[in-house]
């Protein structure tokens, strides 16, 4: 069965600094991978997805992620963080049957002024 690990439960960065959130997955075939963001009291908003092709994918709000098969990783990056980026971020992989998402435990991002 597939699994997703987000090693960092909390991360604090200064506004304007760069950001990288780690995600490692376990999956037998070529994975469909996603990053979602959740603000307090809100649902999950899709930031970006990887299905195939170019391993560097661009998303909304200036985020990007790079798929590295050799490392089973799909890390999320942003060159310059804004205070409004403070939220919880979830990495997810689509299951074998193409239906359910398996999520990592999430990384809570705090942004210092």
């Amino acid at each position: 069965a597939q699994s997703v690990t987000q090693p960092d439960i909390h991360i604090t960065v200064s506004e304007g600094a760069s950001l990288e959130l780690r995600c490692n997955y376990s999956y037998g075939a070529t994975p469909y991978l996603f990053w979602y963001v959740q603000s307090p009291g809100q649902g999950l908003q899709l930031l970006l997805k990887y299905f195939s092709g170019d391993t560097l994918v661009q998303g909304i709000k200036g985020f990007e992620a790079e798929f590295k098969r050799s490392q089973s990783s799909f890390n999320l990056r942003k060159p310059s963080v804004h205070w409004s980026d403070a939220a919880e971020y979830f990495c997810a992989v689509l299951g074998d049957a193409g239906n359910m998402l398996t999520f990592g435990g999430g990384t809570r991002l705090m942004v210092k002024p």
Partner: protein, 113 residues
């Protein structure tokens, strides 16, 4: 356009009562999913509907949980004889097809007293 709509946004009920949670997917989305988000367990898949096919109920935690989808659109998740461990945020998502990105509602926060 309109996103996934869930109601109620909050529900407080006494242990042992039955509750119904509603989800209106994005118009035209054939796939609908329910997830549960709790502090101890993170985000967990519950059930999945695709068109007229039999639902995938593999994530339902007990036989107290059931869900239906009427007319291929609105879905209701029912929890019978609620227990305190059922307290969580219940998230609904929909997508155009099984291997497409899932779009989430804001969830129903369920509290069992």
């Amino acid at each position: 356009g309109a996103g996934v709509s869930q109601s109620p946004s909050n529900k407080v009920t006494e242990k042992g009562k039955d509750v119904e949670l509603r989800c209106d997917p994005i118009s035209g989305h054939t796939a609908l999913y329910w997830y549960r988000q709790s502090l101890g367990q993170g985000l967990e898949f519950l059930i999945y509907f695709q068109g007229n096919s039999a639902p995938d109920k593999s994530g339902l935690p007990s036989d107290r949980f059931s869900a239906e989808r009427t007319g291929g659109s609105v879905s209701t998740l029912t929890i019978q004889r609620t227990q305190q461990e059922d307290s969580a945020v219940y998230l609904c998502a929909s997508s155009t097809d099984t291997d497409q990105p899932q779009h989430f509602g804001d969830g129903t926060r369920l509290s069992i007293l």
